[in-house]
Symmetry: C2
């Protein structure tokens, strides 16, 4: 059994469980060291079983290696899962309550016919994923290289008259030539006033001179994601935009300086938020400061005012303060940091701001 699965078994024992039905694709991918889709993984001391259907069984047969046994299920996947739980003699089986739909929970419970208990859990696999190992950091850095070269490429193409969605299309194309399997989320290209919507969908608006263009994108490479935001300017930068940009940049710098083992997440968020508030834009910074990135583009930890836990070496997350002036423009600057033993390494630090 691989070391990640072993660590889950230990965690299950502490929680008085003897099995776990893993349903979040990123959690499964983490445990079997491969990209997984439309599947379930039953983890137990005796055996680990991977359930999928005929669409994926050929590729799963190749990538699973000895990490788990493949069970091809055509129709009735939950019946197969329930039967395996019974065959292995498991009595208390965790489910991932944030990812398993109510109907699946009900179905498995019904099929159990009282022969085992289903226990809602959260964070068993996520708790391991939150600290990245060396092999994961290598992959994230490779993904960041592609992110950087994609941004450099697009900078040369930006010009008045090009549509937001066309910028997104060029990024989508280029990153695949560089080795990415795709985007880590729908690319945000917000031009002019559209930049004030933090999660704008790239649309038909054409870029114009003397306006900011906010580009928030990331790549997926070997299963690992990146997330980066830059605001670029075509032509002149107006006075207000420059002022707001500088405030966001300095808020980010101060927050990054605070990142070190032991620092509370809430405290890191507060550093940026206070600086923005002091400059009069408290109401215009409307989201958390950051989030973890790894096999998912949004994962643990959350760098938010409510999180009193401390950051740990090996965590990878974004620092992305923003100021949004509805109807005018928005500025967000987002980088990814890796917590080190003494402070942090800005993984996207080599990309110009």
């Amino acid at each position: 059994m691989n070391s990640r699965l072993k660590s889950i078994i230990l965690e299950l024992r502490q929680r008085k469980l003897n099995g776990l039905i893993v349903s979040l694709p990123a959690n499964i991918s983490y445990l079997v060291y491969a990209e997984s889709r439309d599947s379930y993984l039953l983890v137990s001391e005796k055996e680990n079983i991977y359930f999928t259907d005929s669409r994926y069984s050929e590729e799963a047969g190749i990538f699973l290696k000895n990490n788990a046994r493949l069970k091809e299920c055509n129709g009735g996947i939950f019946k197969h899962i329930a039967e395996s739980v019974k065959e292995l003699g498991l009595t208390d089986v965790g489910i991932e309550e944030r990812y398993m739909p109510f109907a699946e929970f009900s179905k498995i419970k019904e099929l159990a016919k009282g022969s085992f208990n289903l226990i809602p859990t959260y964070g068993i696999v996520e708790g391991k994923r939150v600290v990245k190992d060396a092999s994961e950091i290598v992959k994230i850095k490779q993904a960041m290289e592609i992110t950087s070269s994609s941004l450099e490429y697009i900078k040369k193409l930006l010009a008045p008259g090009i549509k937001e969605i066309e910028v997104a299309g060029e990024l989508e194309r280029f990153m695949r030539y560089k080795g990415a399997s795709g985007s880590s989320f729908d690319i945000i290209v917000g031009s002019g006033p559209n930049s004030s919507q933090p999660h704008h969908l790239s649309g038909q608006r054409k870029l114009r001179d003397n306006e900011p263009v906010l580009i928030d994108f990331g790549v997926d490479c070997q299963g690992y994601k990146t997330d980066l935001t830059r605001v670029l300017f075509l032509g002149k930068i107006k006075v207000l935009a420059r002022k707001v940009y500088d405030i966001v940049l300095r808020a980010q710098e101060q927050a990054i300086k605070r990142v070190a083992p032991g620092a509370e997440m809430a405290e890191i968020d507060r550093v940026a938020r206070r600086f923005i508030a002091k400059n009069g834009y408290a109401k215009n910074f409307t989201h958390n400061l950051g989030h973890g990135v790894g096999l998912e583009v949004h994962e643990e930890p959350r760098i938010s005012g409510n999180e009193s836990t401390a950051v740990r070496p090996g965590m990878v997350f974004t620092i992305e303060p923003g100021i949004y002036l509805p109807g005018k423009f928005g500025i967000r600057i987002e980088d990814m940091v890796l917590v080190t033993n003494k402070g942090c390494e800005v993984l996207s630090g080599f990309i110009n701001k």
Copy 2:
């Protein structure tokens, strides 16, 4: 209240419910006539409320119009939902059991403190979405035009030495110039033996002469999706590939002929499956014949051997038989059909096979 919401209210009454918490994005989009993300919709006779957070509230304020009232929730979205249910005096509220995670169900139930019941439901909104209205068909046809021109474009670029993932990248770029907001799913480009994995991920393999290339892709345009598969050949078509291609094509033709109001879904599936079996490839057609397409790329109905219900005018679904020879190659031909009063219209019929 718009007519779609009214039809849901009628359906709720029949099910003895006085409210529904809608959580599937496509269902919400359908009911508010706009693309929706990270939100919930509470439907009730008295009022319809749209819950989202600050990231999306500016755009939601614009697109919601008078379809629902916007409630911005920063943190504690379920608390807001439970409070609204209480304020409206709703006693029996449906949830979408296939889409609501167990944890959300538990949370809302806890917040209800017995003041209302949560009832698992399935298919309330999907039951309406399964038959497309005229405005939806117009959008699907527009999306199919983009799909067609994207395929024509890529045909000219295909050549030995180009990687699968680069083909995907070129499609991603081109469709956005033509008006798509993006792909409807991860593009499948399977070259040579990779084509035998029905849901292959486009990878680093280079196209080669005298091999088939299976391309399965679709676009998202105004929220509506397409799904199309063609197998193209570089150089010569080998004898076995031609033979298998012809069997799949004829199986598809026979199935399409059977599509008409009143035809059972299982029967349509059986027509293609029997023809393939008669030719000796029963074990190599490993998935259902088709699936509905609309606001989601996979939605109701399922054209499968288990579905005894009949097709109805206005349904839109794929017909996609396939034969997969592991290690050798796979052939799948996929078109989208619209059920008419007398038979069906092949929406992708103008795209060469």
